[in-house]
């Protein structure tokens, strides 16, 4: 007997009898002999729960898995996650359910997805949100495909060089196989080169333009006039945004974007080595039927009660097969619940306050680093939010190594001399002081 298998000898005997066979292996008599697997798997022996815990405790021993004080970002941020969030998402009614196809016994899931959609729409300033995507990178790739599918006569999708190169690589991968070209619009002084964009648009054939806000380097770009220029060419304006900053920053809707995408990890989801996070996608009302993924809508039941249900399913793979807007089905529903509860707890003021603290911390740390005389801002005249790039006048690898020794992840190396640093509301003034002290101590 094994704890996950309830079959007793007696059960087996009765059930096999009903099936008219004498052994469970007889149930595979329709499998050709040459396809049968006859040896034991080369896997470790079963572990008891006590041994399993010991095993993972050993794996997470600081010498095997080191928790560093995190000043790294680049798409994954160490934001505060209220205790309430982790507690509620573990409720088994949410955790152990499937996609809410049976609305009558899935109102819990359908309700929170509707709330999630409302919150994402509100943060992005757009009309419609879907029920979630895998991550920010694939959401951006899906948006690129949406733009390509939406265009009548297009030759390419443009991507700003200031978009995270990890995200660009995913967009390029999807585009390559889906069958449309991606063209890079170069950066000038850390931001989208407007002259280069205008030149591309003037050539025509642009299905869409993808930018990031704040961009990969943490810079808050000014996209004034960009939407009009793109819309004149009938292209879609796609903004990859960091939702935690949208408490403060101008929304994709206010920039007149058609589609907003990004990663919701910064909204209360632990980093967990990069996943699971949650991709989000929002768009204008007129694009709703082109949107990939699941969407929850409001309706009534036959008792006259307000109810929620998966809707507009005619876009989806299980109905439309190869003509679907995307192949996505399972998304990151439980992670959308993280986001929903996070935004409910933090609320209108809390999200703003956390963003304000992150901004203040990043700027304070930046001041301190510049004051050491060892750094200069990579893009000195550009406004940034909670992430910024500095050029170091010494050996950057040695700096990062020294910081790691002291328990700090000082940032991400994004150029030979360039260090990208992110600060969240979780970083204390003491931690920032200590990081600066560590760096000061390093001999040139």
């Amino acid at each position: 007997m094994f704890k996950y298998f309830p079959h007793t000898e007696e059960d087996l005997k009765e059930m096999l009898g009903t099936c008219g066979v004498s052994s469970v292996h007889d149930l595979f008599s329709d499998v050709p002999e040459a396809a049968r697997f006859k040896r034991d798997y080369q896997l470790p022996e079963t572990l008891s729960e006590i041994d399993l815990r010991l095993f993972f405790e050993q794996l997470t021993h600081p010498l095997n898995t080191q928790q560093l004080i995190c000043f790294a970002g680049a798409g994954c941020y160490d934001h505060y996650a209220p205790s309430v969030v982790q507690n509620l998402v573990q409720r088994s009614e949410f955790l152990t359910s499937y996609t809410p196809y049976q609305a009558e016994i899935s109102q819990g899931t359908l309700h929170y997805i509707f709330e999630y959609q409302s919150m994402i729409a509100e943060l992005t300033g757009l009309d419609i949100s879907n029920a979630s995507m895998y991550d920010g990178a694939t959401a951006t790739a899906e948006a690129a495909m949406m733009a390509w599918g939406n265009a009548k006569k297009a030759t390419r999708v443009l991507v700003s060089e200031t978009v995270d190169p990890k995200v660009r690589r995913v967009v390029e991968t999807y585009a390559h196989y889906h069958g449309f070209p991606i063209q890079l619009v170069p950066a000038a002084n850390g931001t989208l080169d407007r002259a280069a964009l205008d030149k591309e648009l003037a050539e025509g054939g642009v299905a869409g333009v993808i930018v990031q806000q704040p961009n990969y380097y943490g810079i808050v770009e000014d996209y004034t006039g960009v939407a009009d220029a793109i819309h004149e060419q009938k292209g879609l304006f796609i903004i990859n945004a960091n939702p935690s900053d949208l408490a403060i920053l101008k929304t994709p809707g206010e920039w007149d974007a058609d589609v907003a995408v990004g990663d919701g990890q910064s909204l209360g989801i632990p980093m967990t080595f990069g996943g699971p996070g949650v991709g989000f996608m929002a768009c204008t009302e007129k694009l709703i039927r082109k949107m990939p993924g699941r969407i929850v809508g409001q309706t009534l039941d036959n008792r006259g009660q307000r109810a929620f249900v998966l809707t507009l399913q005619a876009r989806e793979q299980h109905i439309r097969r190869q003509k679907a807007t995307s192949n996505i089905c399972s998304n990151q529903s439980l992670m959308a619940l993280y986001v929903t509860i996070y935004l409910s707890v933090m609320g209108k003021e809390g999200l703003r306050e956390a963003a304000e603290m992150s901004y203040a911390g990043a700027h304070s740390l930046c001041d301190k680093l510049l004051a050491t005389g060892k750094f200069k801002l990579t893009y000195p005249d550009q406004p940034f939010f909670n992430e910024f790039c500095v050029d170091y006048d010494g050996d950057l690898d040695a700096l990062l190594e020294e910081a790691t020794e002291c328990g700090y992840l000082a940032g991400i190396k994004v150029g030979e001399k360039t260090l990208m640093i992110a600060v969240t509301e979780q970083r204390t003034p003491e931690e920032m002081e200590e990081l600066v002290d560590i760096i000061k101590e390093i001999k040139a």
Binding site: R36, Q67, S97, T173, N302, N331
Partner: protein, 517 residues
Amino acid sequence: MNRTLYGNLIFELSKKGRKGYSLPQDYDRTHTTAELPEALRRSTAARLPECDELTVIRHYTNLSHNNFGVNDGFYPLGSCTMKYNPVINEEIAAMKAFAALHPLQPAETCQGALEVYFNLQQSLAELAGLSEFTLNPCAGAHGELTGLMVIRAYHESRKDDARTKVLIPDSAHGTNPASAAVCGLEVVEVRSLADGTVDVEHLGELLAECGSEVAAMMMTNPNTLGIFEPRVLEITKMVHEAGGLMYYDGANLNALLGECRPGDMGFDVMHINLHKTFSTPHGGGGPGSGPVGVRKGLEAFLPMPRVTKGKTGTATAPHSAPEGATAPVFTIDYGKMSSMGDEGATKADTSIGSFFGNFGVMLKAYAYILTLGRENVKNVGPLATLNANYIKERLRDDYLLPIQGLCKHEVVFDGLVDKSTGVTTMDVAKRLLDYGYHAPTIYFPLLFHESLMIEPTENESKETIDAFIDVMHKIAAEAKSDPELVKTAPHNTPIGRVDDVLAAKQPITTYWKSKNT
């Protein structure tokens, strides 16, 4: 489950001025976002809820009471493998050391995490009979797409650009053709025979017609009817001879654990749904994980980043003493990034996500495999198959069994035997909800008009299954004695049947829209 509707939205509980959080107040306020030019700031505050902590707790607790999960009761949803999600796996995945890991921290500081990644992919390779897996895909469909990319990259590497078609049986899940379309491939349907298996003669005709254009054939085995494809070895041979690769959709892999491996049947590329076969929770629709495996010779086409194991040092083995430091064993290969600016010419490596996929899900699957161990993994397929065949034999008197013979992990009926009162599969499914069961998958596969697909999994006891069978018989009796009762079900759920047409006609998908309508 609470059978009355709770029904509130968090926005309706909001009251101006309430708060549910606390943040430190002693920080350097030299800089504030007011420094940002006004043109870069949003004009009005986001209308997020304002609630105290207990209100939030009660709201989501009450919402959860209107939901049904595997922990609430039997969930025989065919093709979804709703097995038990062990709670120890949740404990492991929530360990702070993992939760606090940044994906870009130096490899020597996250050897434990890399070991989980590496060893899980090795375990999957052993179970699948393949060479190597990437764990980066976030779901089954994401895995399908990734696998097809691998196949296209393989053909591209041989400059065999004519291979743009993918053969898919007409009984396949909708994701197969959808993934093929996203991957830029043209779908060619292979017909099924009356017994639901692939029409090998039709396949032969198709290969004769356009074999040199075939990139791959996608197959689910057991197929979507729960039937093992008896001629699978012939099929893989035929496609290989035509120069195509065989893709295995791992949706139904659970049936085969212990009995056969896709690699041994001749499949070259496959995905596995960790949220089906390896017990990770479905979470109401994700996060899943869809690792993709390849046979020897195709490893180079897997997407970046990849976790590799060096030749030096030793990994942490179960039961070894927690002595700690080992020389870095596992390394991360990020591959070539997208070109920046003037380096325009270099092409980036294939990548399907920013980091390593849903690592938190991998932890749960790895804990599951370690818990089962080699002694128990082999019983998964046989027990799941026994449960399904037992249901098949016990329900065939009242429910129409269109395909005779053995099934694997799931069984498909074509509605009631006696359809004279007009009770449909939809009605039977809805009536099941009244009795405290989740419904089976309905109206799929499309081969039958009244498909009712039941997958019990290996975790369900004979008592649970017998009780379900009794209720199914009871519903069949009700369909004769009181058909209206069944046709108007459910009666005992928080809400009744919903108006799908109303929802789709003028979609209301946000609270703001609902207030203005």
